[in-house]
Each structure stands twice: as C-alpha cells, then as structure tokens.
Amino acid sequence: MIAAAFEYHRPAHLKGALGVLAEYGDDARVLAGGHSLIPMMKLRMAAVGHLVDLQDIADLKGIRVAGGRVTIGAMTTQHEMIASADLARAAPIIAEAAVQIADPQVRYMGTIGGNVANGDPGNDMPGLMQCLNATFTLVGPDGSREVAARDFYHSAYVTAREDGEILTQISFAAPTGGYAYEKQKRKIGDYATAACAVQLTKAGGKVTSAAVAMTNLADTPVFSDAAGAALVGTSGDAAAVKAAVTAAVAAISPTGDNRGPAEFKRHIAGIIIGRAITRALSRA
C-alpha cells in the first residue's frame, strides 16, 4: 500500500497547473481531494508520474450565489458546502447529499470538483449535478468551455473532459420547490447500494417540474427524463410516484458486487427512488 514514486507539483495559478498537464500529457493527473486517486496510486492501479496539487489555486475555491445562480469552485470541499449558509438557502439538497458522503475526515478533504470530474459511478455529486442540470466549466490550453452535467459522463471514469483540461467550477440555477437525496449504504464510508436525487416544483396542486437522477446504479450517473415526465402534471399521488419509479428503474443497469446482486439493487433502487420522490413532494 505504498505508491510508486511521483513528481509533486503545487502551482499557485491555474496557468501553471495547465502548463504541467501540457508538458507531461497523460503522465500527469490533477489532485483535488485525493480520496479516489491516492488509494488507486497506493494500490498501484494508477501510475501517475506527475501529480498536480490544486490546493494553492485560490481561484478554484468558493461558493457564490448571485442572480439566482449558484457557482461553486472545483476545490470547494464537501465540508465547506455543508457549512455554507448561502448554499443552505439556495440549494439545500447539496448539504443533504454531502453529509451522506463518507465521514467527516473525508469531507474535510474531498472536493466537489474531484467528486464530479473523476467519473466514478459511486460518487454522489454527479447524479445530483444531473438532477440540478448543472454546467461544468473546463479550462484547457485553448481556453474554457462548458459542458452540461447530463452530457459529461460517457462510462466509468470516462468523461467529456480532455486530458489537458481542468474542471474549474460548477454552476446551476438555484432550484426551488421540494428536494431529497436518499441513499442506502452498508455503513459509514461506503458507496451507495442505491441513491437518488429529486428536485421538483408544484403549483396549484400539480407537479410543474421534476428531475430525478440516480447514483451507482449504472457505470455512469443516470438521469431519467421519463421519471420526471411521469410526475409532471399529476398531483404527486401514489399512482404517479409508482409510474415515476417504474420509469426510473427502467433506466438503470446495476451490476452485482459485495453489496448484492443486480436484482437486489434494482429492487432497492425502486424503494429509494420512491422514498426520494415522496420526501421531495412533501417539501414542495
């Protein structure tokens, strides 16, 4: 459990970080919180010649809520998001999900940028970002571009990010209405057996918008348009919830692991999705 030797870089500016990536290509990786990458290096499953630590780049930190839009720097930790009063007002679902990630020690180190950029299907923030219809900002040698969270994930650990790019921030429209992040896990520190993010609005007794996304139930996060559609226009009654759950479960493709076989996860997913929707409706 000792990593192979590597060069450690700790630039103070984004430009410096991009320079190291440009120089060493795929032999370089950025280090955000390190809670996925470092264990892989210790197991020698990831060989990284140059590690680019982003912690000194002040521009990558911070939470801003302005003009109905939330912007979070990639190096903002889970703990900082949980502690943010602005975020609690603008998007309480973030803290509800973040407190369910690992344990306090991990949350002091783990960042939102690392969580969404790594492409690990077990991470909680990607599904949540798809639920919120967030946008990721990627900065590379040729400038910056924006990619929707719902378009970002291709397969496990494979994303729209190019090798020379760094994910610098996420942003989304501050949500309104009811929300819930529901997660089943075996124990503290575990990834989800099944997890689901729901954000919805109601007006005049009817659901007017609904977004449903799921975690660790496929090799990418799963956003289900159909599940949202099954709720919109209904009162959120039991039949509507059931239809939404059926639609969401149809979109997942879990695989068996130590948490249990696929059929078990499919069933748990249905329960968790149903609970998330029900809780979100109760808050709308």
């Binding site: 459990m1 000792i2 192979a4 030797a5 020698r44 344990d103 089943q184 075996r186 124990k187 503290i188 520190g189 575990d190 057996t193 130590n258 948490r259 249990g260 076989p261 078990f264 069933h267 748990i268 329960i271 968790i272």
Partner: protein, 806 residues
C-alpha cells in the same frame, strides 16, 4: 482512635482493590498517542522487509526471477524458499501439528500467500522491489468449498502430504482431509434421536471472518552477532511460546533469545499464531546482521493472517413434545484453509467446540468434526472467544430456536425448561466437561423481566398483524441467547500447546517503602491488565493498586506463561497473582508477629494490616512490614519480600450470560436498527466493573459486525473479496447501538478469587443474539434458518424468498 484514624471503609477505598471501577492506568499514554507499538520501534541501521504475495489461490510456481529487484538501489536481499531450504526454514510447524510454507515451495495454495521476502533500506524501496520480482505461475484448479474439496476427484492441494494416511490428529481419509475428531456417544445419541417425539434438523453455517485488530501483525528482529543474542519485538499474544518455538526452530539457545511484546493494538486471536513474516525477519537479521522490521498492511492482514470460524455445523436435536431435550448430534465440516494453523490446545483440534450442549441439561450427545483443506488462507483462531466456543454457542443457540419452531413453543420457555439447574453444579455434561458453577434460571428471569419480555412478544404480535394489514413494512425481532462459555485454558493435564502446558504465572517483588512490581506470563492487548491485576493484588496484600506496577511481555524479565487469549488471563494468571500475593502475606504475617512480639497465630489480616486478635490498636501495616522485611535482621527469616506462583488451574471456568436483542427490520431494504440490547453477564467475582462494561461493549460491537455484515468470502477462483475495510465491515460509532449491561455474580468455586473471565463472553453471546433477532422477526412467516452475515442483501433475500415483496 480519633477522628483522623481512617475507617475500614476509607482504608478499603484507598486500596482500589477488587470491585473498584478504577480508571485504566494505561489510558494516559494511549489517549495521548504515547503508546509504544512495534511500528514505533526504530533501531540503528534497521532494514525493512515485505512480501511478494501470490495473486493466485492455487498455482505452480515455475520460476522466480529476482534479478531486477536485487539490482534496485537500496535492496539488500530477496529471500525465496530456495534460500531458506538449506536452513530447513522454508516450512515451519503450525500450532496445530501441521506444517506451513514460510515461502512458496514449488506451489502456492491461497491468494496472498508469501512467495518471496524483499529486504531493503526502507519500506518504499521494498514496495518498488516487490513490483520487480517476476514470478512465473501455472494456474491450477481451485477449491474453496470444503464439501467439494472432499469429493473423489478434487484437486490435490497438499502434495507434500502425498501418501500420508494419518496426521497429527489421526486418520486422513482423503487427500484434502485433515482429521476427524469425535467425542460423545454416537450410537446412544442416534438411538435417543430416533426414539424422540420431536426432532429438529438444520445446517448452521458460521461464516469465515477475521479478527482484524486495528494494529496489524509485525515484528522487529535483531541479531547481535557480537554477543549472539537474538531480540524479537513483535505483536505476540504469547511471547514466551514464541521464544520457545524460535529456539526449537533456529537452534539458538533459549537464554540467547529475548522476545518482547510491547504495547499491542488489539489481538482478538489474530496474534497468537506464528507467521512467515516473523521467520523471514529473523532469518534476514541473522543473514544481514542488522535489525529487520516487518509490518503488515491492512490487505496483508485480512488476506493472509489467521481468519476465524468457517464451520458448517449439521445439527439434529430431539425433545419430548412438551420440550424436554433428549439428545444432540452435531457434525462439523471445518474449513481450515491451505494449512492447519488453528491455535487450539494440541489435544483438541476442534478446540472446545464440544461445549456445544450449552446451558442445557442434555442427556446424550455426539460431536464429530472433519477438518478440510481448501485454497483459502490458513488460521481458524479463537476470535475473541475461547477455542471454537463462539461456534459452539452459535450452533446450540440456533438449534434451540429451530427446535422451538418445531415444537411451536416460545424459545424463552424452551430454554428455561432445559437449563442445568443450580443444584446440579458441578455438572458433568454429556460431552465430558465439568461445569464449575452456574445459576442460569436467576440470570434468565432477571433478563426477561428487565426487557419486559411478555410485553415485547405482545408488541411483536401486534406488529405482525399490522404488517399483514399493510400498515407497516417493518418487522420486530426478539433475539434471545443464554450462553455458557468455557474459558481459562487450562489444566496442564489436558491443555497444552505443542507440549507446553497452559499454566500461567506471577512474580511479585515488594519494595522496602511499600510499593511493588508484579510481572506476569500474559500480555495485555488492550484488556487493561496493568489496572486489574494490580487490583487483585491490592486486595490480597493490602498495598494500594496505585503503588503496584504490572509488567508483562518481556521474556527476559517476566515469568514463563502461555499468554493472553481465550479469556485465560484472569482465570489463570489472575489466579497466579492471587496465589503469589498470599505467599507474600504469609511471610508478612511472620514478620508482623516478630515486630509485635506475638505468635503468628495471634494475628489476623485486616484489609491492609495484621492486627493482634482482640487488640485492634496493636497492628503492623503491610507498608511497615515491607520496610522491616528488608531492614530488620529478623531471626530465622530471610531478608526481602518476594514471591512467585505458577498456577495450574484445576478446571476451566464457565462464565455465562443472558442477552436480549430487539431489532427493527425494514423488509423492503433489508436494513435493520437495534432498538434495544440488554446484556447480563455472570463472570463470577467482578474485579473492575468499568473494565467489564468496556469489554462487554467492545465484544458486542464485534458480535454486531460478525452477525450483520463482516465476512471473508472468496469467489470461485479463490480471490478474497473482502481485503479492504471498504468491503470488510468494521462498525463505527454510527453503526453501533446502545447497550444496557447488567450482571449476576456466581463465583467460580475453584478460582482463588472466584473470577471467571469476561473479555470474550459478549462476542460468544452477542452473535447468536443478533442473529436470532433477525430470524425471530421472520418466524411468523415461516423462516427456520438463514446464514450470516445478515447484511442488507441477505435480509432482503429472506423477505424476498418468503414472498414478502408482493
């Protein structure tokens, strides 16, 4: 007498002796990070060793090329079996009378097996060098199922045993068979069961788990070539045994070997055995002339050092139709992995499993245990239990529940009906144990009253009705256990390890000013010996516990003893401590008599002093006596005040307890919540109630882990699926429920202070309590038996198979 004279109560309180919740003297250093563990030891010029391990569960090792590793700067040596063979150290004896490869000799038999030992100037170089060792493997068919291992065409695992039709424990009937160990009267048992009105039959599996101490195993070996002395610091639960074994293996005389167990961060049985890392470190130190440190990482620990349990227990229990048990038959298929490295007293290859008649008066019984080789890690240690006692307790406490279902009877009532009555002790069980003492009905009634058992059953019935009406998706389980342990191995007449009798020892030296040091043959791994043994002594000799230093673990200074495991420290070394204290007191009495100018017989012991009978103002305190012992020339009495006792216990001790677990189960998700856990323990005389409570909390939490999620499982090609703490369940504070502890006190009649041992009771009793709660929740829907661990998936599967998911 005046107001300044302390009262007897004040004098007793000052001693902090038996029965006092004295704070742990160890904690000042542990809570400040000032402990001294093996990995804290740094010696000048120290080298580091680490293993190349097998990725395969069964493979031929065709070649090992270590040239590139040896060429790496900082690498001192790479040892393979070929290097150890000339020393005859490529294999080593196990504690169970088998032998085990130190380094792969021609083949590997489990994933994680030690193949080569890299020695380098630091751990980082070791890790790099390991990557450079090229091993050419040829994969062989893998067997991880002990039943398949015994099939006629099963792959031959132990080629080194070809043609050997008997082993250390008798005949071998198959190439993967280790032994069949039997006890009891099988013919009479079968007869009783066949004639019975009611018979329940079930296969009970106690899955493979791992003790997983927070500190992994390790050592620092240092051969001083100038004075010929070998010093080994290590995580040893039995340092004296390690010294003797090291001497026998190496040929180094025992006085030239010093084994030291420093602070140990938990053992739970994992640190009893002898591991290849110790042998390789010692050899590497002898070869290089430098100290060599070897420390496992977590994956090494979980994959390669001793596991526990893995018992398939096929049971048949019979009874009259009104619930009086008439017989018990048990056949175990015991998966020992690639080598038989169980840590059991040598005459008992299945440990004390035949305590499996439990707390019940069962007239006739039989146990047969087949030991089997598979492509899994070796071990079979007593994980926080006395040898195989957890398996036995789980077996009987599950069989009782199954029998209750068969009888249509309440499981608490069935237990009470069959308990060994108080007036039957000492009681000889059908399988030959002599239970020293017990009062099961009193404990049971107290437990049931404390939890309002009748009320719980009413609530459960209402819950089932509400569930059936569709008003709730949660069920309520009431898990009962009444366990009887057998601890304190043990009488030398039948308990030894490789011929070393399982006595233990204490040596006391009183200092002239009235303080003392006591050294013991045991070694604390967190149990708090420095606190509790001083308390035993304080009560025996009348010096305050705070004035008594307890030392263990250094074979150069401590008296010989068999170490700490199987809840044996208090029953055996604790007895030695009391006996040595009594020798001190006997000499002190003579000294006091001389000082007071009376006859010995005119004195009586009073808390901390000898008093002239009938003249309470005439006394000498132990402090006065200690000074006189050294500095008064007393005719006919040698100067000094010291004593040593080697204690060979006349019998084991038999702690028992009554546990009740109340559990809420979510039928849809398989999740659970322990709503209430009541644990009544009877460990005889209670030395330190606070430490007992801590032991019970810790043991129950390990029991929760085992019952509800912890396992070492393998896939079909022998890959270990739980080699990290992501997949090996170690509960945190979040998963740990609240526990209510309680006690009764039935002293052991043969132990000098009546103490029985408590460290392992909560694990022994806790596992069936949690598991029975899960089973009980589904009893109304027809569940009889579902194997542990009861993780979310497996509980969900129970509900699913019972048709509860609609």
């Amino acid at each position: 007498m005046n107001d300044l004279t302390p009262t007897p109560q004040e004098r007793i309180a000052k001693l902090k002796g038996l029965g006092t919740s004295r704070k742990r003297v160890e904690d000042a250093r542990f809570t400040q990070g000032k402990g001294n563990y093996v990995d804290d030891i740094k010696m000048p010029g120290m080298l580091h060793g680490d293993f190349v391990r097998s990725p395969y569960a069964h493979a031929r090792v065709k070649s090992i090329n270590a040239d590139a590793a040896r060429a790496l700067p900082g690498v001192i040596a790479v040892l393979t079996a070929a290097d150890l063979a000339p020393l005859n150290l490529h294999w080593m004896p196990t504690l169970a009378g088998d032998r085990q490869m130190v380094l792969a000799d021609g083949k590997v038999l489990f994933q994680g097996q030690e193949v080569a030992f890299v020695v380098a100037t630091d751990r980082y170089v070791c890790a790099d060098a390991i990557e450079l060792v090229e091993v050419d493997y040829e994969e062989l068919p893998v067997v991880t199922d002990p039943f398949k291992a015994l099939e006629p065409g099963a792959p031959v695992l132990r080629e080194d045993l070809a043609g050997q039709t008997s082993g250390a424990h008798g005949a071998r009937r198959h190439h993967n068979h280790i032994f069949l160990w039997e006890t009891g009267d099988e013919a009479a048992t079968n007869q009783a069961i066949e004639a019975a009105e009611v018979v329940a039959e079930e296969m009970i599996y106690y899955h493979r788990v791992h003790p997983c101490p927070l500190e992994t195993c390790g050592c620092v070996a240092s051969m001083d070539k100038v004075n010929g002395k070998l010093t080994v610091f290590g995580t040893f639960q039995a340092p004296h045994v390690v010294r003797t074994v090291a001497s026998l293996l190496s040929g180094i005389e025992e006085h030239n070997i010093r084994v030291v167990s420093p602070d140990i961060g938990g053992g739970f049985g994992n640190k009893v055995g002898v591991y290849p890392g110790y042998v390789c470190s010692i050899v590497a130190s002898i070869v290089t002339g430098k100290p060599v440190k070897w420390i496992e990482d977590r994956m090494d620990n979980l994959m390669a050092t001793a596991f526990a349990r893995d018992y398939w227990m096929k049971g048949r229990i019979s009874a009259t139709k009104d619930g009086k048990i008439t017989g018990l038959h048990c056949h175990v298929t015991a998966d020992h992995g690639a080598f038989d490295a169980c840590a059991d007293p040598t005459k008992f290859p299945a440990g004390f499993f035949h305590i499996c008649t439990g707390s019940y008066d069962i007239p006739v019984a039989y146990v047969g245990v087949d030991g089997v080789y598979t492509n899994k890690a070796p071990g079979g240690v007593a994980y926080r239990c006395s040898f195989r006692v957890t398996e036995a307790a789980y077996f009987i406490e599950r069989m009782i529940e199954v029998l209750a279902i068969e009888l249509g009877m309440d499981a608490a009532e069935l237990r009470a009906k069959n308990f060994i009555r108080k007036d039957r002790f000492p009681y000889t069980s059908a399988l030959g144990w002599e239970y020293d003492s017990g009062d099961y009905h009193t404990a049971w009634d107290k437990a049931l009253a404390a939890v309002d058992y009748a009320g719980l059953r009413r609530e459960q019935a209402e819950r089932v009705a509400a569930f059936k009406r569709g008003e709730t998706r949660k069920l309520l389980g009431i898990g009962l256990t009444h366990f009887t342990e057998i601890v304190g191995a043990g009488p030398v007449k039948n308990c030894d390890i490789l011929g070393m009798g399982m006595f233990d020892s204490c040596e006391i030296r009183i200092h002239p000013t009235g303080s003392a040091i006591a050294r013991l043959g045991t070694i604390s791994q967190g149990q708090g010996h420095a606190t509790t043994f001083a308390q035993i002594l304080a009560t025996e000799i009348g010096l305050p516990a705070d004035s008594i230093t307890i030392e263990e673990g250094d074979t150069d200074t401590a008296p010989y003893g068999l170490g700490t495991y199987g809840s044996r420290s208090t029953p055996v070394a604790g007895a030695a401590t009391a006996m040595a204290g009594r020798k001190i007191r006997a000499k002190a009495q003579m000294i006091a008599a001389w000082l007071l100018e009376v006859h010995d017989g005119d004195l009586e012991w009073d808390i901390d002093r000898f008093v002239v009978k009938g003249a309470p103002e005439r006394f000498k305190t132990m402090k006065d006596i200690a000074y006189a012992a050294y500095h008064n020339a007393i005719p006919g009495i040698e100067p000094g005040l010291e004593a040593v006792s080697y204690y060979d216990p006349p019998n084991m001790t038999y702690p028992f307890g009554a546990y009740v677990c109340v559990m809420e189960i979510d039928v849809d998700t398989g999740t659970h919540e322990v709503r209430q856990f009541y644990a009544l323990d009877d460990c005889g005389t209670r030395i330190n109630p606070m430490i007992i409570e801590g032991q019970v909390h810790g043991g129950l939490t390990e029991a929760l882990a085992i019952a509800m999620g912890q396992e070492i499982a393998y896939d079909e090609i022998g890959n270990c699926k739980n080699s990290t703490l992501m997949d090996f369940f170690l509960p945190t504070a979040v998963e740990t429920p609240h526990y209510t502890t309680d006690y009764t006190e039935t002293p052991s009649p043969h132990h000098p202070i009546g103490a029985k041992g408590v460290g392992e009771s909560p694990n022994v009793g806790g596992v069936p309590a949690f598991s029975n709660a899960v089973h009980d929740a589904f009893r109304a829907f027809g569940l009889r038996q579902a194997h542990m661990p009861h993780d979310h998936w497996r509980i969900w599967k129970i509900a699913n198979q019972l048709g509860l998911h609609g």
